[in-house]
Symmetry: none
Subunit: 226 residues, 4 copies
DNA sequence: GATGAATGAGCATTCATTCAT
DNA sequence: CATGAATGAATGCTCATTCAT
């Protein structure tokens, strides 16, 4: 069964650097600093929202200078955007990993259930391990502007395609209800995200992960064919 | 069966006026202006977010003066807060109305199902009829600050109590799964809100109301005891 | 010897009313309200300064409406001005009264001393009895603008003339040092006012009146001829 | 005899910079700008009062940008406060210098007189050389708010202590009247300040310095034991 | 006379961004 | 690459004053 991946870190591929400044050799020093900036920016965004976070807050948190921030990212939106894109990618990776651990060639009810639950697990686990990042990613899609937007849409398309491809056989075989993909997605992620939001805001006391199985089962009951 | 209430309007009880200024007689003129301001502010908030909306935008939309805005509400936060509180109340009223149309003394599976579905219907219908207000209310609880916060918490407590009381018999009889109220709430509203958010953002094309029954059925399947 | 006049009240002659609005019959009702307004305005001015006091503060303190305030005084400056002029007059009256109790036809050292001390007593006593008003009057001459200014200068001239006339014989006889009137005034009132300012600001704990005789004696020692 | 120090300039120690931003190296460039800002702010405050001076006036006078003003001082109050504190310090320095030029180990009437007169001279001279700053300092203690306030009180305490220590021997020996320090201070500075205020406001024509000796003698006559 | 809604110029302050060193 | 001073448009809010009811 799919386990709980421990110890995520906010780590990103070199592409991030490439996207922002086209400097030929993003030295590892530079990359390290960028990550630190993103890490701290995330904390600020979580606490005050993107609009409520000022460049100065990030500067203070990262112990650098305004100039340095701009040298690395160009402007505030680029920071917010990079954070979103990397988060999306990080989450997508986990989800793919969870699905990869399953076999979608054996078309049984059990496998279908495992697939649906894997979606829920991936959400619950990623959110639980990266609560701030998760909160940010699931509520700041608008943060991505300019050139990054197209790229995000591409990424997102591939991601959806991947999930779609994985489940297609089960839908065809009639093991999962034939609903629009968007409805499926909402039924699977909606309860988790809604609970997570209240939990992260401190309004719910019991941590999300404690309801991991409940949400998984609920999703499966909603989507299975009977 | 519970029908779709047509023609909601952003209309609020006199209490709104009372909360802001304790003037003895909030003339209907004054009340009317306050409502108009809230109406327009909502549009601005929907389009640009609360932080992204400037007082000047609201001023222009309402065709009044800055002074008048401040005369009636004191500050920007108070506008945002009043909008949230009134929205909450409006939604709660609809939900109560839907539940009131059902009989929770006959403890059958059918009635339990109707109860759960009523919750979904209320969400779907209110969101469909007040999309902007809904979007605002479901994502700006933080807008309520200061004295209004306590009041909101009180209101909210009563609201939850009411729902709780309605469903208690069914839970006792074992017709609905005995889950924490917060989980129940997330399972019922999560899919609807998640779908609604994407739909309102223009990312989903099919309107929420078209999936009304699907979401209702999904909720019931998740929560019923088997 | 000159005693301490008890129980001053902020009371003004009908002229105040006349100066502001030229209404034919300033009914006693109206006059009463004006006095109440001035009384409260004084408290506000004392606490926040004239510039720091808003019309709304005065409105709240007087439990009336903005409109009423403007009906009675025309504008904020007029309130500040009236307060200054009345204060000046009230103080001048006390001073004249104190001098009137003495005999300036007997040109002895004793009488000269009594005259000088009367000036100090008048200052100490008036300030002690009307601390707020005193603080206001001695530091807000600039508050008087427009038409009231000329009138004030006239009043002030008469006042100075009166004092001048009273002391002239003693100066001629060589019982008091022949210094410019302005220097005399500064030596007599300076210490009292300086002490009073610090006392009123809470920086000095011992009340002004306890040093009444000390200041009087100091003034006399400074000014007497030897 | 104590002479008249010519050519004061508004110059302040590095501490000013330190108090506002704790940046490691307040470059001399930065310090220079701060001084220029204070210099111009003083002129504005003198002409319109602190409340009557707008940030925009200071900006125009200093030929910089609003942002720069805030970069250096944080807010308007900080400008007003720094000006007061520096003024206090500048005056205190002069006074100490004047006292340092005298010998308080020879306990004669002559020396006591010289001491008292030094206090008056310091006041007259500083006010005459820095009329605007003096006027500001002697009437805007309230300008100091927040953290600077404590520091001011400390400074002030040391200052008073210093004066107290200098005069203590003379008081003990019975050469100067044993009055509370506050009364002594009022008698010495009161006449000078009162005269200065009227002079600076343009109501008195003869300059303060012309009465230097008169005020000094008056103070001595008031305070000497006989 | 009283009331309080309306007005809008004015103000302190913030903040993303640029750029010289 | 780093630094932090400089910039100025933008923003939330205040407040004296007017005026219709």
């Amino acid at each position: 069964m799919i386990g709980l991946d421990k110890g995520f870190v906010l780590k990103m591929n070199e592409d991030v650097a490439l996207e922002v400044s086209l400097s030929p050799k993003p030295s590892s020093r530079s990359l390290q600093k960028k990550q630190q900036i993103l890490q701290q920016a995330l904390l600020c965004f979580s606490e005050h929202g993107v609009q409520g976070t000022t460049i100065d807050m990030i500067r203070e948190a990262t112990q650098t200078s305004v100039g340095s921030l701009y040298h690395h990212f160009g402007n505030k939106d680029a920071i917010a955007g990079a954070l979103f894109i990397e988060g999306m990618r990080d989450f997508a990776e986990l989800l793919k990993q969870y699905l990869a651990g399953l076999d979608n060639t054996v078309l049984t009810k059990t496998q279908a259930c495992a697939g649906v639950k894997a979606l829920v697990y991936a959400n619950v686990d990623w959110i639980s391990n990266q609560p701030d990042w998760a909160n940010y990613v699931f509520h700041h899609r608008a943060a991505v502007k300019g050139p990054g937007k197209l790229r995000l849409e591409g990424d997102h398309g591939h991601f959806y395609q991947h999930i779609n491809d994985w489940f297609a056989p089960f839908l065809e075989k009639g093991l999962i209800q034939e609903l629009p993909l968007e409805v499926l997605a909402s039924v699977v992620t909606g309860p988790v995200h809604t609970y997570a939001r209240h939990w992260l805001a401190g309004r719910y006391k019991v941590s999300l992960v404690e309801h991991r199985e409940v949400f998984a089962e609920a999703a499966w009951q909603s989507l299975k064919c009977r």
